[in-house]
């Protein structure tokens, strides 16, 4: 029986050869870029950065979908499985700038590097973390973080290494000290002051 060629051939071949279901490869083909591949690898290694809730949701969603797609595939429903593969794209987490060749082989170290990378400001773009930024310097800093970790530094030592060169400014979460107390307490003070003001205002107005 002659098959109808609905999809571009390379893509269709991939789908038809789904025996082992190499999820990351399929995704790579869909997007034609390497950046997203590592996201899926995070799921495969079961190593999720703990604070990235979004990523965890994405992992769970992906697992359910993976099973569904596999069973559809077994029952010969190719089109349905393809639709689901495409649907899976919506479960993708935010794109990071980390390229696959930067990722460490050791998932524990890589998870620590992510933690640190998320907390460091890219000095070029200034409102992105070094993990989010495509700037050259961010790339260099990501490599530096990974080198320090591989050399046996603790997370704090790595952060110290960077802050001694670039100052507290590189920390997206600035430390609490004399220069930053307004930054941390400002909103609270403002809230208390306005609550106090309101209270005073209404007390004076009420006849009692």
């Amino acid at each position: 029986m002659k098959q109808r060629s609905v999809f571009p051939l390379p893509l269709r071949e991939r789908i038809e050869n789904l025996g082992e279901f190499p999820f990351e490869e399929i995704r790579l083909d869909f997007l034609g870029e390497g950046v997203r591949a590592e996201k899926i690898m995070v799921c495969i290694h079961e190593k999720k950065p703990p604070h990235q809730v979004f990523l965890s949701i994405f992992c769970v969603g992906q697992k359910i979908l993976r099973k569904t797609i596999l069973s559809l595939k077994e029952r010969g429903k190719r089109l349905a499985s393809l639709t689901l593969v495409i649907a899976t794209l919506f479960f993708m987490g935010p794109a990071l700038a980390i390229s696959p060749d930067e990722i460490l082989a050791d998932p524990t170290l890589e998870a620590r590097a992510r933690d640190i990378g998320q907390s460091l400001r890219c000095l070029v773009c200034q409102n992105q973390s070094i993990d989010d930024s495509d700037a050259e310097l961010a790339h260099d800093l990501r490599l530096l973080v990974r080198q320090r970790l591989t050399a046996g530094d603790s997370d704090d030592q790595v952060k110290n290494y960077i802050t001694t060169r670039y100052g507290d400014y590189v920390l997206l979460k600035p430390p609490f000290k004399q220069e930053t107390f307004l930054l941390w307490l400002g909103p609270g003070i403002l809230l208390l002051a306005s609550a106090g003001g309101l209270l005073l205002f209404y007390r004076k107005r009420s006849p009692s």
């Binding site: 070029v124 200034q126 050259e136 310097l137 260099d140 800093l141 060169r165 670039y166 100052g167 400014y169």
Partner: protein
């Protein structure tokens, strides 16, 4: 008095607007709030040892910084503002300033070609291909210019291109003071 209280939000709003406007005017006049203040000032220059960019000129290591006041200029052939500040560096050299150049993340051929076209004002010229020494200096873009005193302590940093005003008002007086 109580009747005028309704004016309070308007006054607060006007204050906010004038504050924001004031900041905008400052920026228009050349203030740079996105400039990251360097924490390296008054700290010893980092340890490094970089190979030379040119065959006939020495490279640069932290040992070379001892005993004389050195101006270190990070540049790259791909950097447009570097081109703008380049004539100022030649002028500095003519004044007898010890200038060291570090080509930041540059291909050797391109940096050499750029220097042969633009003129080479440097006493020492090194290549930081990986940009690691630059990170140790706290560089986050090119051009950046540092002044290191006789004890090897960083005394000054210019982020971005040098301007005639900065050279005349800040750099030269500081060099004079440090050379005494």
């Amino acid at each position: 008095m109580r009747r005028l209280l309704f004016l309070l939000p308007i006054i607060l709003f006007a204050l906010l607007i004038s504050f924001l406007g004031w900041r905008l005017i400052l920026i228009a006049r050349g203030d740079t709030p996105d400039l990251v203040p360097s924490v390296m000032i008054n700290k010893p220059a980092p340890e490094f040892d970089l190979p030379s960019l040119l065959a006939d000129k020495p490279g640069l290591s932290s040992k070379n910084l001892q005993g004389k006041v050195t101006v270190i200029n990070f540049f790259a052939s791909w950097c447009v503002p570097c081109r703008a500040e380049h004539p100022l560096l030649a002028a500095l050299k003519n004044k007898g300033v010890v200038l060291a150049g570090i080509a930041y993340k540059n291909k050797r051929v391109e940096a050499v070609e750029w220097l042969s076209k633009m003129g080479d004002p440097y006493n020492r010229i090194a290549l930081d291909a990986e940009g690691r020494t630059a990170i140790d200096f706290g560089v986050y873009g090119v051009p950046e210019t540092y002044v290191v005193d006789k004890q090897g302590i960083i005394r000054f940093k210019q982020t971005g291109p040098l301007t005639p005003e900065i050279v005349a008002d800040e750099l030269l007086p500081l060099l004079k003071e440090l050379n005494q």
